[in-house]
């Protein structure tokens, strides 16, 4: 992975995914190795993303590196009309690695083509967010002891949610089976189901939450967003159908864990937080180790 950009989860081989997860595990045991001393990472956040940015900055700090950058475009030269290419070429002079969040889809791929230093995509519009997928994979492996042949239940906005799309693509490499739970308007897009069909992987689709999580290894919750519905009445009908409550976890598998990319609004009731099956805040912590591993490998420090 040395000097390679990370734009899409599909850019990584299975071996590269394993090497990232193994190194993340090493960093979790020893979270402050000063491997990145003398290295500068630029974090270019063209749109606000508090969790992802802080997670990356925490990862750089734990590795002993330094961070420069901006957290919204209005405070950068972008507001003066500078092109993405010019910003990247300039910032590459000041840094060893660029982490970029941008609202325009495909911007990370383009940046990786013009940049002399590696680019890590921290989200390009609704397209890709590979480091989120890698921290999801790390969380799944850590809690299940493996990635192969797991039963993944995905809940909520399956139509627009980029995290579920990337996770589906990644987990399909490990022979997962899937249950999709969503309102009709937010069903998993056809191309992803066709992709699973081609691979011969099983999936089911349901609209009710509680009866369909009993045999899950992972329940991956996402927000159902009011603004996605053309008819507000339709939203009213489903909004309470996708609130995971503690009593619904009774009878689920012992190893089952609830994941969520965060931020949560009301789709996981706070009474779940104390359950040993709630894993979303630890999942966010895992993001730091995973991002440390990604940066260390790209910079050739490991």
């Amino acid at each position: 992975m040395k000097n390679k950009s990370l734009v899409s989860i599909n850019d990584l081989s299975k071996e590269e995914i394993y090497s990232i997860l193994d190194l993340a595990e090493e960093f979790e045991k020893s979270p402050n190795p000063k491997l990145m001393e003398g290295k500068v990472v630029a974090t270019l956040f063209y749109e606000p993303s508090t969790r992802t940015r802080l997670s990356f900055e925490s990862a750089v700090n734990r590795l002993g590196g330094r961070v420069i950058g901006f957290s919204e475009a209005s405070t950068s030269s972008v507001s003066k009309g500078e092109s993405l290419k010019d910003t990247i070429l300039t910032v590459a002079n000041y840094s060893d690695l660029i982490v970029m969040r941008h609202p325009i889809e495909g911007s990370a791929r383009y940046a990786s083509e013009v940049s002399p230093v590696p680019i890590i995509n921290a989200g390009d519009g609704a397209n890709q967010h590979p480091t989120q997928t890698l921290l999801d994979l790390y969380s799944i492996r850590k809690t299940q002891g493996k990635l192969d042949n797991l039963k993944i239940v995905m809940v909520g906005d399956l139509k627009y949610g980029r995290t579920v799309h990337s996770l589906l693509m990644a987990m399909s490499r490990f022979g997962a089976s899937f249950t999709f739970i969503s309102p009709d308007e937010l069903k998993m897009p056809k191309e992803y189901k066709m992709y699973l069909d081609e691979l011969g992987l099983k999936y089911e689709e349901h609209s009710e939450l509680a009866p369909n999580i009993k045999d899950a290894d992972i329940v991956y919750m996402t927000r159902v967003q009011r603004e996605r519905f053309s008819d507000p009445m339709e939203y009213e009908k489903v909004k309470n159908a996708y609130i995971l409550r503690n009593h619904m976890l009774e009878g689920t598998k012992e190893n089952m864990k609830v994941l969520h990319p965060l931020p949560r609004v009301n789709e996981i009731n706070t009474d779940v937080d104390t359950s040993p099956k709630a894993y979303y805040f630890t999942q966010a912590l895992n993001g730091v180790y995973t991002r440390m591993a990604i940066m260390a490998l790209i910079l050739g420090l490991k």
Partner: protein, 152 residues
């Protein structure tokens, strides 16, 4: 009574004849090949009867031959096009177009939020369906199908 004047489209001595262009895509072919910008003599006919296409168009370009890559660019709008290479009034060679694996700089990405529609970036696509022609954007990974294709 005056003699009727006929404007006959004569055979070309040397050049290329592109046949079996879907009539509705004639001007797209002209644009893609840049025929509107070259000084050669060009004649075209459209809405001609065709068993294969219903209505077809045909273009004759004098003193011009195309490279394989160049001509394959029209495959996305004229996948059944046939080329006759004319030398000294004779058909010297016949060619079929082939839909390429990748195309660049011909079609706009359908996604308004794609970087190619936001900055000065040449659109590039992988051809994911050669039969019905659908294109996957190299940058934003969205699919542009034939129905939504707009040409640069």
């Amino acid at each position: 009574m005056k003699d009727k004047k006929h404007l006959s489209v004569s055979a070309i001595e040397n050049g290329t004849v592109i046949d079996h262009i879907p009539a509705q895509n004639l001007f797209k072919v002209i644009t893609i090949l840049g025929l509107d910008k070259i000084p050669n003599q060009i004649t075209f006919g459209t809405n001609l009867e065709s068993k294969l296409l219903g209505k077809k168009a045909i273009v004759k370009i004098a003193d011009k031959y195309f490279e394989r890559d160049e001509i394959n660019r029209i495959a996305i709008v004229a996948p059944h096009a046939k080329l006759n290479i004319i030398k000294n009034y004779e058909v010297a060679e016949k060619m079929l177009v082939e839909v390429p694996d990748q195309i660049s700089g011909i079609v706009k990405c359908v996604n308004p939020k794609c970087i190619t529609n936001a900055e000065d970036v040449t659109p590039k696509f992988k051809v994911v369906d050669k039969e019905n022609v659908s294109l996957k954007c190299h940058y934003c990974e969205k699919i542009t199908d034939q129905e939504h294709m707009q040409y640069l």
